[in-house]
């Protein structure tokens, strides 16, 4: 999971091939197939070793490269045989080269878009003013069915893009429906009744963000107070939580 980000470094087999071609300083119109195939395969192998989820497209490309490689190895005599005929021998790499060049065009275009996006980001606009006071009669806007979901999304997108004035975070007070203290008691009670280890994740029964936050803070506080014990048997393994038994109870239980 944690390596998933890295695979984004390449958008696909074509992207990877372009990168290899660039690194090896190879002429795209005359690709040494054996060399590039070898590099490509090492690459795939490494991806597997890094426990990356290798998309099937990468494997298909590997097969294609091998196929091209073997075609290129076919004895040259064949070419001679066909020489008399006006049909020109097709280079097995042609199709791939064409694809690479086509893809590279759009990759560069994407780069242009990125620059346009940055340029545009230098301009700041303002939201439309509230013109309520200027509307004489409050007749509703005319209803014509020419608004689509896209229009709504676009308006929303624009809103989210609008740059907000920086305000000190402290002025934003979110409501807190449940106090950390209350949640601490709840968690502790729950663990005591259960009298054993409980999965960390079970302590977050309510998916609501504020509840998650409060629960998490409550757990931290409980750890700090030595009221609960947290265990993890291996890296990235499951986390278990257990109530620390204090006083008379200890005697009874052990």
């Amino acid at each position: 999971m944690q390596y998933n980000v890295k695979i984004d470094a390449f958008e696909g087999p074509l992207d990877l091939l372009l990168h290899l071609i660039n690194r090896l300083e190879i002429d795209i119109y005359d690709i040494p197939v054996a060399q590039i195939t070898e590099q490509y395969l090492i690459y795939i192998k490494t991806m597997t070793e890094l426990k990356l989820d290798v998309a099937s497209e990468f494997l298909v490309m590997a097969a294609t490269l091998l196929a091209i490689k073997s075609k290129m190895l076919l004895p040259k005599q064949e070419e001679v045989l066909f020489e008399d005929e006006y049909e020109i021998e097709e280079d097995p790499r042609d199709e791939l080269v064409e694809k690479l060049i086509e893809y590279r065009k759009y990759k560069e275009a994407a780069n242009d878009l990125k620059q346009l996006q940055e340029e545009r980001g230098l301009m700041f606009t303002k939201p439309p003013s509230d013109l309520t006071e200027f509307a004489k009669d409050k007749k509703p806007e005319k209803d014509e069915r020419n608004v689509s979901l896209y229009d709504m999304l676009a308006a929303f997108q624009k809103l989210m893009r609008r740059k907000k004035l920086q305000r000190p975070v402290a002025t934003k007070i979110a409501r807190q429906e449940i106090s950390i203290e209350a949640r601490m008691t709840e968690i502790l009670d729950e663990l005591k009744t259960f009298s054993g280890r409980k999965s960390f994740y079970d302590l977050f029964p309510n998916p609501e963000k504020i509840h998650l936050v409060v629960s998490f803070l409550a757990i931290l506080e409980l750890i700090k107070r030595n009221d609960i014990l947290v265990e993890q048997e291996e890296n990235f393994g499951e986390i278990f939580v257990e109530a620390v038994l204090k006083g008379a109870e200890v005697v009874g239980n052990y």
Partner: protein, 195 residues
């Protein structure tokens, strides 16, 4: 950098600040001069806006902040604009509001205004009169504000069978929606580990 550029910068930042306006302190911080000098520059700019008949905006002082506003004498044209037949049938303001309600229902007006950063009375009226939204209840707590939600007409209007068919929001946007809560979280988190 001369006083010339100060005018330009001031105009830029006042423009971008919109209805929220800026305090003298905020402006002074951006210009990196002290407040007294900032005041001089602002006052000069106010003069210039006032005197230049080609300008359609000026600077007004409201509740301790300075903000740009349209000149009063142009009010009739703003009325014309509002009533202009080619002004979009559902304005962007209404669409934004509708989107917020669709994705965050039930939601009180204050929260919509917080997200949009502007008053939302008229867009709400428009949407209500088109029956795309309705009051769906009242919030807990003091004030018991009305909560808004979308209607069956909303679904019809956009050709949706149910709200589940609304296109998902981009992840980034969703993140921003919860940003405030996250900020709160980190604040609390800091408090907890520091205490």
């Amino acid at each position: 950098m001369g006083i010339t550029n100060w005018s330009s910068i001031l105009e830029s930042i006042l423009f971008a600040a919109g209805d929220e306006g800026l305090t003298l302190k905020q402006m002074a911080e951006v210009l990196e001069v002290d407040e007294r000098i900032t005041l001089d520059i602002v006052e000069q700019l106010i003069q210039e806006y006032e005197q230049d008949e080609k300008r359609g905006i000026n600077i007004v002082q409201l509740a301790g902040t300075y903000q740009l506003a349209t000149k009063k004498e142009n009010a009739p044209y703003l009325t014309k604009l509002v009533e202009s037949p080619s002004t979009t049938t559902i304005s962007q303001a209404a669409l934004e509001t509708l989107a917020i309600i669709a994705y965050r229902q039930p939601i009180p007006r204050a929260e919509i205004e917080d997200i949009r950063g502007v008053k939302t009375e008229r867009p709400l009226q428009t949407l209500m009169s088109k029956a795309l939204i309705k009051e769906v209840g009242r919030a807990e707590g003091p004030g018991r504000a009305y909560l808004y939600g979308t209607t069956k007409e909303f679904l019809d209007y956009f050709g949706l069978r149910s709200l589940d068919e609304l296109p998902p929001l981009p992840e980034k946007v969703n993140e921003e929606f919860v940003q405030e809560e996250a900020d709160l979280f980190f604040e609390k988190f800091q408090e907890t580990i520091n205490s």
